[in-house]
Symmetry: C2
Subunit: 129 residues, 2 copies
């Protein structure tokens, strides 16, 4: 995908892709940096930021921020709900055909073309409730 769009395939980018595109944890930049440093100790934080923005721009990743403003990265780019525990902060995805139906219904009603979404539900998770 990188090569297709004219970007170089570097070991740093591969390492970041390998971790972040398979993560289901909605990691922060710090988490990603820590993880990548273990397999690639000389990587720079600037490279992490640049690569995450690049992956977002080419549509492989979704960037979002929690209510407090902290940036997170989501490898699930399809429409889904992010269930966020108010207590422990854990985020899990919820996918359902209902969501697609709801969104397309809304889009039709508004006569607007939907180009993206980010849906956060705040809950107490099974461990915390």
């Amino acid at each position: 995908m990188l090569r297709e769009k004219g970007f170089k395939v570097t070991p740093q980018r591969l390492a970041i892709c390998r971790f972040v595109l398979s993560s289901k944890e909605h990691p922060s930049v710090e988490k990603i940096y820590d993880k990548i440093q273990k397999v690639y100790p000389t990587i720079s934080l600037a490279t992490i930021y640049q690569t995450l923005h690049l992956l977002t721009k080419i549509g492989l990743l979704q960037e979002f921020a929690l209510c407090n403003g902290s940036l997170r990265y989501d490898s699930n780019i399809s429409p889904h709900l992010n269930l966020i525990c108010k207590n422990c902060g854990k985020i899990i995805d919820y996918e359902s055909e209902k969501i697609n139906m709801f969104l397309s219904e809304i889009a039709k009603e508004l006569e607007l073309s939907l180009v993206g979404q980010h849906l956060e539900l705040y809950v107490y998770c099974n461990q915390c409730k």
Copy 2:
């Protein structure tokens, strides 16, 4: 509401409430500061932040962040969709009984109690599309 909860009613807090609780524009901290400075030129940025957090804590205001991380304040605390224009950044609310139905259906299915939500739909607005 402030007095009920044991907080003092100061002119600074009143000025902030008057603006932000009636605004439908989802203003940023900077926008709020600029606006309040016109009626209250000596106000400190720290007071703005403190007051916004206080109003959020007592449930008069909802704090959220756009995908890029910029903080916004929403005086509409009921469940609704925020329609965000990808081009000009304008945010408008969309309220509908469908949203409440959708959310309660999901909550029942998940057997989780929903304690809040923040729903962003990215679109191109009528002026921009």
